[in-house]
């Protein structure tokens, strides 16, 4: 797949924006302005942005929980301020301050999210079936991590998705650690993409730190799904340089993480790698970079202001209203 100069700059811009929001979210959690969790995603954010940036607006996307799906949603075109306000328990949030870490942007194909890992494998069967019934070429993209792929729901969902030739793309962001447990303790083989072969599902493994490689691989898989050829599995090898969630122990397999190894991982920081590449190819200039960074900072500041100035959701009358549809 060939990307235009405009496409490549769009990927870069979205990655800068996602990174800026990750830093904002981490700070707001530290300042006590988030009401529940934040699971940082910096350095592992290229996969989400690369996956989502070139999807159709009506394609359905299940965002990964890492970085709370900001990279995915920004890629999809969602204005992140409503999701930020949601994290702050505000009435203007995308779930009116009831969901906090849940996202809903129906017009952008983000039809809801569960905080229980593995839900994407079963719920996306329904999205895929509905998309197929609609017959308008919609594709479902389900993002998840290596930890999630250990759930049994994967088998039930993937099996049916292949059987029914559903238009689903499974995007694994494999950062090698499931919360506090290393991949070595969770899966016997190196590539989890090998799981797809059992269903006769095509799979591809890409460098998740290479945003263009991710966008290309997902793009091919999406094309295949749109043509009615069924699901594809894309494994993006990525990294985690932070703890599981902000404030949680930076440990794995019962031990402190080896910080020398973490420093080594940091050399694969995707934003600066991509930036260097774009500069070398003459696609962007230093001035462009400054401008994109400035715009991202302004966007984040405006989103923070919007969230903090929005009313806190404390209207108990909505409890009845939201429980049942009339």
């Amino acid at each position: 797949m060939k990307f235009s100069k405009k496409d490549l700059i769009k990927l870069y811009t979205n990655l800068v924006r996602a990174r800026t929001f990750d830093m904002l979210c981490t700070r707001l959690l530290a300042e006590g302005k988030f009401v529940s969790f934040y699971h940082e995603g910096a350095w592992g954010d290229a996969a989400g942005v690369g996956t989502a940036t070139f999807l159709r607006k009506d394609d359905i996307l299940y965002p990964h929980h890492r970085a709370h799906g900001f990279p995915h949603m920004i890629g999809k075109g969602v204005d992140p301020k409503y999701y930020l306000a949601e994290h702050c328990g505000r009435a203007t949030g995308c779930c009116s301050g009831v969901g906090t870490v849940h996202a809903l942007f129906e017009e952008y194909g983000i039809l809801g999210q569960s905080a229980i890992l593995g839900a994407q494998f079963t719920v996306s069967v329904g999205w895929g079936l509905a998309a197929k019934k609609n017959g308008t070429g919609q594709v479902v993209v389900a993002s998840f991590g290596d930890g999630t792929l250990a759930r049994g729901t994967w088998h039930e969902g993937a099996n049916v998705a292949v059987l029914w030739k559903l238009p689903i793309v499974y995007v694994l962001e494999n950062n090698g650690i499931a919360q506090y447990v290393s991949l070595e303790k969770a899966y016997p083989l190196k590539d989890m993409a090998s799981l797809a072969a059992g269903y006769g599902m095509p799979a591809v493994v890409v460098d998740g730190q290479d945003i263009v490689a991710v966008a290309e691989a997902v793009g091919e898989a999406v094309k295949r799904a749109r043509q009615g050829k069924g699901p594809t599995f894309v494994e993006c090898k990525t990294i985690r340089v932070t703890s599981h969630g902000y404030g949680s122990p930076h440990m794995v397999d019962g031990e402190q993480r080896d910080m020398n190894m973490v420093e080594e991982l940091k050399k694969r920081e995707p934003l600066s790698m991509y930036e260097k590449n774009l500069l070398k190819q003459g696609i962007i200039t230093k001035e462009d970079i400054e401008e994109i960074a400035k715009a991202a900072k302004e966007e984040a500041a405006a989103a923070e202001k919007f969230a903090m100035e929005s009313p806190i959701q404390e209207d108990a009358s909505i409890l009845d209203q939201y429980l049942y549809a009339e």
């Binding site: 609609n134 969902g157 429980l323």
Partner: protein, 320 residues
């Protein structure tokens, strides 16, 4: 009017709703054959895209229902036995009931989970559950428990047209019950209890197969005790008003519930009656429930599940 069996009435409701609304579809393991014949013949009528046979994959079946519902479809997810809901509890009890709520009330999830429940068929502890109390513990899920063919049809049609997740639990021991069913369409709204027998001495509240047993008890006691039998028909929403009206009239209550006594619906209903009508009671409320054991297979079943003699004894005791 035609005489229809309980499972035929269910089948007819499904058939009518599949024909009426093309957004309705049915999926589940073996729905093309259907072990209790509730869905038999539908795949021939509506085709394999509307009546979908699945692998044994309850999580995929129920998760599929959630996904499709958020895209404007009205799925009916057949779980065969209500005991199997536990294999899909994440979707049935957590995701479906809470989805609309936690996403700020912006969506509706018109889903029917349908399964056969209950014991009295000696099929053992993993195929005899009546798990309605578990469902009621999860706000956002409606619970429908029909006790007659007429109700089975009318309540299922209402469940399919409801914009919320509904667990429709028919009772396996009622499958052979026959009743006159009108030719013309009818719907029974959720949340309306039915007074099955009018009486003045004691109120018996019982749903599903327990209602059948309660009516038999009431008829047996005719001339001795005047028993009013109330069938809640749906446990969520619960028509507490009809129950309380009866309690005010009789002052005495027996609750019959097939679920395990401990933490069951009977205990919950006792509490609600006491909260709202304590001063109307002339005697402590009695309950007849499954004893606090797993339901044994075979001939031991009768020592755990509520028996007609226990219902008679409870009624006699409460009117003493």
């Amino acid at each position: 009017m035609r005489l229809l069996q309980y499972n035929e009435a269910i089948n007819e409701a499904l058939s009518e709703e599949l024909a009426r609304d093309e957004k309705v579809f049915l999926l589940g393991e073996g729905v093309g054959v259907s072990s209790l014949a509730t869905t038999r013949g539908l795949v021939q009528k509506f085709g394999p895209d509307r009546v979908i046979d699945t692998p044994i994959a309850e999580a995929a079946i129920t998760g599929c229902a959630i996904g499709a519902a958020t895209m404007g479809y009205r799925p009916i997810a057949d779980l065969m036995y209500s005991d199997f809901l536990y294999t899909a509890a994440d979707d049935v009890l957590i995701r479906a009931p809470q989805w609309r709520f936690l996403h700020g009330g912006r969506q509706s999830l018109p889903i029917v989970f349908i399964a056969g429940s209950g014991g009295y068929r000696k099929v053992g502890p993993e195929h005899s559950h009546s798990p309605h109390s578990i469902m009621l513990h999860h706000p956002g899920l409606k619970v429908v428990v029909p006790s007659t063919p007429y109700d089975a049809k009318g309540l299922l049609k209402a469940s399919i047209r409801d914009d919320n997740p509904v667990f429709y639990m028919f009772h396996k021991a009622l499958i052979g019950m026959k009743e006159d069913i009108p030719e013309e369409e009818y719907i029974i709204p959720l949340g309306q209890a039915k007074v099955r027998r009018e009486g003045t001495d004691v109120t018996v509240v019982a749903a599903s197969y327990m209602n059948y047993l309660a009516i038999q008890a009431a008829d047996k006691l005719k001339g001795e005790i005047s028993v009013e039998v109330i069938d809640p028909r749906t446990l969520e929403p619960l028509d507490l008003d009809t129950i309380l009206k009866s309690v005010i009239k009789t002052g005495r209550v027996v609750i019959v519930d097939e679920d395990t006594e401990r933490c069951g619906f009977a205990g919950e209903l006792m509490a609600q009656i006491m909260e709202h009508a304590f001063d109307e009671l002339d005697a402590p409320i009695k309950r007849v429930c499954a004893a606090n054991y797993p339901i044994p297979s075979g001939f031991l079943e009768k020592f755990v599940l509520p028996q007609p003699a226990q219902i008679l004894a409870a009624i006699r005791e409460v009117v003493k």
